[in-house]
Amino acid sequence: MEQAVIYLKIIFAAVFVQNFVLSKFLGLCPFIGVSKKRSSAIGMGLAVIFVMTLASAATMLIYQYLLKPFKMEFYLDIVSFIVVIAALVQFVELAMRKLAPALYKALGIYLPLITTNCAVLGVTQLNLEFAKLNGITLTDCLLRSIVNGVFAGVGFTLALVLMAGIRERLESSPVPECMQGVPIAFIAAACMALAFFGFAGIA
């Protein structure tokens, strides 16, 4: 029960309260870039979930088995995480293209866009908080990181899909000329962020 509550809290926080786009303002590039159409937004969202999950797991292993034993966790985490994530995603993309062309068509093309995205790096950094908790087992830590990764991705997808819905509606609106395109998308993102303020303080 206690465990379930903890995980629920992690999930709720990852999706709503600490939404990567709307609360932490990370990953804005793919957020603005691929939110024009709902279909591509969903594809991008799935890709982000995939990469975040993978990155969470991989970096936590690196952290636990490489950085921590050699006491490098205070200065080498970001560098090593970037390298590992980038290579991993590249490799998965290569493999997916060959082995699962259908899946590649659905989300493979989004993968290179987010290999070194700050949102992905951000989630791995956040995961380190679990590693620093007292009395936490390795499996617990890994599990929490993965759950956090999955649902941070879900939160990102949520924001992306909502944004795509909004931008599709804006498409047919007489938005002032100087505001069309990216400017209004940023204003809309700001308004969304203001709305997401409502989740602030939910523990």
């Binding site: 709902r38 899909v161 599709e168 609106s173 007489p174 209004i184 809309a188 308004c191 709305a195 303080g201």
Partner: protein, 377 residues
């Protein structure tokens, strides 16, 4: 030359109810709430309202001038935005708060998106959310104008501000750290367990894991004999306005009903956190003070006036029901578990964000087909 007749496309009959008529009806429906505010809070509340309305109208005109589109300030939509913004501001707020709020509401939340009909978020609420972020202290200030009502709540409140020592003394007497604050909802979010000891008159407290709210308190809040924002203190006045709008068929029952019913239901079901002296505990399930959740705070103005805003709510009836339920759910979650005592503003804004998706999910089934239409995007 023979007389020239006019050729127009059919239909040749059109309803008299244009945008202006709808907006005027909304203004009229808001009138009781503002009249009550004048009685309750005095002239400054009306001055705040006036600032908000005038700024909204002027901003609208300036925006339309800048965008080289025809002036449509005569459709009263800016007036409604100004009124709604003022309605959710505290009565003693400084002059620049409604001023900035109206500019943001009309200039950014409305005209950047293309003007009336294109805004994604309710402009007034967006203005309010902006103010909450920009002027948190002004918006949440605990000082209220002297109240005219005679309720016990009032006296307690006056005591808080007038004599802090007395409060400490009373708290000692009942053996609990009683914290009462401005609005009933704020009290709800900060309830404590008095451990079965004497209650403080007018305060909301927890006993045996159940939040205790008396009927007289609820009645006071319903009548408006309490604290809160300019337009939202009297649930009765808002209810009158809402019934008028429903009667004139300006709004349909779907959103208010779904919204209020969800708030009542979840307010009753969900356990609320409270402080039992040392740690946070939760009240029992199915014991929530649902009636207080319904009449307190801005639920009525939200359910009847804000969530029903045509531009930012779904179009189909099913969509409206979904929208109302979503607003109710978020309102209760924010009120009980969130960082704000009041969840109406954010819940509606959050649901506004979802409206394009709701519209997409709830497309009606086309007559003579098995499916809803599905245009390419």
């Amino acid at each position: 030359m023979a007389k020239q007749f006019v050729i127009t496309p059919s239909p040749h009959l059109k309803t008299k109810e244009d945008i202006g008529a709808i907006m005027r009806a909304v203004c009229l429906a808001l009138a009781p709430a503002f009249i009550f505010a004048l009685y309750r809070f005095g002239y400054w509340s009306i001055a705040v309202t006036a600032i908000a309305v005038v700024t909204a109208v002027v901003t609208e005109a300036i925006c339309q001038r800048l965008r080289h589109v025809p002036y449509t300030v005569d459709d009263y939509s800016a007036v409604v935005t100004g009124l709604l913004l003022a309605a959710v501001l505290p009565p003693n707020v400084a002059w620049y708060v409604p001023f900035v709020g109206s500019i943001v509401a009309i200039g950014i939340a409305k005209h950047c998106f293309g003007g009336l009909g294109c805004n994604i978020w309710n402009p007034a609420l967006m203005g309010r959310a902006f103010l909450q972020a920009a002027f948190p202290t002004e918006i949440n200030s605990g000082t209220w104008p002297a109240a005219k009502g005679e309720s016990l709540l009032t006296s307690i409140y006056t005591n808080i501000n007038g004599s802090f020592d007395f409060l400490v003394e009373s708290a000692k007497q009942v053996g609990a750290d009683v914290i009462t604050s401005a609005t009933p909802l704020e009290q709800l979010t900060r309830v404590v367990d008095v451990a079965g000891k004497v209650e403080i008159p007018g305060a909301i407290y927890v006993q045996n894991g159940v939040i205790q709210v008396s009927n007289s308190q609820i009645f006071d809040v319903f009548m408006g004999n309490t604290f809160g924002c300019i337009g939202e203190i009297s649930a009765l006045a808002l209810l009158l306005g809402g019934i008028y709008l429903l009667g004139k068929k300006i709004i349909t029952w779907h959103i208010p009903f779904a919204y209020i019913a969800t708030v009542a239901l979840l307010g009753w079901i969900l356990p609320a956190p409270y402080s039992n002296g040392e740690a946070t505990a939760y009240t029992a399930w199915f014991t929530g003070p649902w009636l207080m959740h319904v009449v307190g705070g801005g639920l009525f103005i939200g359910a009847f006036f804000m969530a029903t805003d045509m531009v930012t709510s779904p179009m189909s009836r099913l969509g409206k029901l979904l929208f109302g339920c979503g607003c109710g759910l978020l309102t209760i979650v924010i009120r009980i578990y969130g960082g704000y005592p009041e969840g109406v503003c954010y819940s509606i804004l959050l649901m506004n964000t979802v409206v394009p998706m709701i519209d997409c999910w709830t497309r009606p089934r086309v007559y003579g087909t098995a499916k809803a239409s599905c245009p390419k995007h």
